[in-house]
Subunit: 347 residues, 2 copies
């Protein structure tokens, strides 16, 4: 507090510092950057640093970004902020990216490809160095647009069959295999499936995994036992489950494409006066936070979502370092978590 100034200061620039330190502006620039700092004389450095301190100088990152073409920011697009699973991933992403000095621009598409596209463009305009999308849908050419600009892009949680982008996803078919294996071991023979939207990879893949798992065991694969939800929400899960019940009244178990859908199933059961797991067993997928504390505690397939986010960040960082790097596809292993929503089949 060398000078008594008004409350609001106009930020100091390199010029200001240079003037006070009686050196050229470029010398200050060198002094500020760790890589070039060694180029500047010890006592001029001291003078500069003192001026910096005195003026409370902070480099303007926008100007740096413009000049260096490095914004030190990346965009992260999510389909739904109220989905605890997504948030887990954001945590992993943000943590890793933060360590690397990047700031995260967050965009919540709210399940809308339209909005996702808007974010893609806005973030692109903001010169993000890369983008992680956890909201990829199959027919999402907005993502391709981004790639055309050479902006690194990685898909997390959901992928695209084309495989042209780096991605990290759980082994979705294996998720289903684990769920069916568990249910069959409990004696269940008529197992329904509430699938995720067919437009997103894990909706499709988990459904396929369900069918494969049944077929492999010589069990009938009936399409009327599958009902896809239009979105990964509790409400849509409930709705889908009711449709399923309207068609099939002999099911003893349901495998839901994710935990939110599973909770929706629980609601649908309750509406019909049915009990879980006594009347019907339910297996979720993803193991969202607190899923073990529900009533009943949810048997589900654990997916390491935070780790998945970290890997997505790593993949993006790789790509940022070398844009021409070949896309990599990481698949992480899920595992079964048995809790209270499954029980031996009685019928």
């Amino acid at each position: 507090m060398s000078t008594t100034q008004s409350d609001r200061q106009v930020p100091a620039t390199l010029r200001d510092v240079a003037r006070v330190a009686r050196v050229h502006l470029s010398t200050v620039s060198r002094a500020m950057n760790v890589e070039t700092r060694s180029l500047v004389n010890a006592d001029t450095l001291a003078r500069v640093l003192q001026a910096v301190d005195e003026l409370d100088y902070r480099p303007n990152q926008t100007a740096r970004a413009l000049r260096m073409k490095r914004s030190l920011s990346v965009g992260v697009i999510v389909p739904d902020l109220l989905n605890p699973m997504i948030v887990q991933m954001i945590g992993g992403i943000e943590g890793r990216l933060g360590e690397a000095g990047y700031l995260v621009l967050l965009g919540n598409s709210n399940h809308s490809d339209e909005r996702a596209k808007l974010f893609l463009e806005t973030m692109s305009a903001h010169q993000v160095e890369g983008i992680i999308s956890t909201a990829a849908t199959e027919d999402d050419d907005a993502l391709r647009d981004i790639a055309r600009f050479g902006r690194p892009l990685v898909l997390a949680n959901r992928s695209m069959t084309s495989g042209s982008f780096s991605s990290v996803v759980p082994d979705d078919q294996q998720c289903s295999e684990l769920a069916i294996e568990h249910l069959v071991a409990l004696g269940h023979q008529r197992i329904g499936h509430i699938a995720g939207p067919p437009t997103v990879s894990n909706g499709l893949l988990r459904r396929r995994g369900y069918e494969v798992a049944l077929a492999r065991r010589g069990m009938p694969v009936r399409s009327e036992r599958v009902q896809a939800a239009v979105r990964y929400t509790v409400e849509e899960g409930e709705r889908a489950c009711e449709k399923l019940f309207a068609r099939c009244n002999d099911l003893t178990a349901i495998y839901a494409g994710n935990d939110l859908l599973a909770i929706g199933c629980l609601d649908a059961l309750a509406r019909r006066g049915l009990h879980c797991p006594e009347d019907i067993s339910i297996v979720g997928c993803n193991d969202m936070p607190f899923s073990g504390r529900f009533d009943p505690p949810l048997t589900t397939i654990h997916v390491p979502l935070a780790e998945l986010g970290e890997i997505a960040a790593d993949l993006l960082l790789e790509l940022i370092v070398d844009h021409r790097r070949e896309p990599r596809h990481v698949i992480v292993d899920p595992y079964l978590v048995v809790r209270g929503s499954t029980a031996p089949a009685l019928r």
Copy 2:
């Protein structure tokens, strides 16, 4: 796709467009901006627009930001991304800010003032037009630093007693009043309190509210019946609750400073072989997502967190429009949600 080019294009600039449209760069600039578009002739505008389309030109927001001193971005600092309540607020914030054309830079301080300060500085360097912090602690002079630069700042969920920043918080004392009122109505006389950290406003205020509510009813206020958790997490809630039990074994109810702490209390009860609500009633606070689905369903004080986020965004937007605006303090009303974790006192 007029020309067959390589996959990766270098983004077009105003100059490129100007060259193709055979006009001066500044004309293109005018044409791109809605406010100045009327200044340009209809058919030159058409030429420009065609060139823009042809080259797939997108304005570089970094350059704009540098020139206009408007980054169209704001920073949001949160203490914990794994806290579902916080996420609710982010949703509200991001939604409102997105509508206004702003992008959100997200920073997760992970309960560390150190990291929060780092984010504040990094975001500031990125020229955010304002900052919303949901991680304010009482002794947080980093926040004051930001304000010195004249960067608009609003505090959400947590406030600072100084009151020099705009803020939006729940009526924390009222939260406690509602909780105590409910418990007393159920016949509880010996009510413990797991408080949030005393360094954050709602930790302190809710504790005070608890004391005031007891005193108002002529009930004894005993400090040994209060245990503060060092953080708002399930684990710290459990730990604090165990400390409390070690001191007091005659409590019939506990009011927890938030739902996470309440869940921790549930864990502590379970450890001791006690049941909720039969042995001890528990009231949480905030009404986090899914709290009604826990076992037992949590009786809690509902706080409209998403709305709180929206208000925070509005306050910030106001401040961005006029930096010298007086700080405003919005207080939102909580209400009681009775579920299954509370029952009449038996002792």
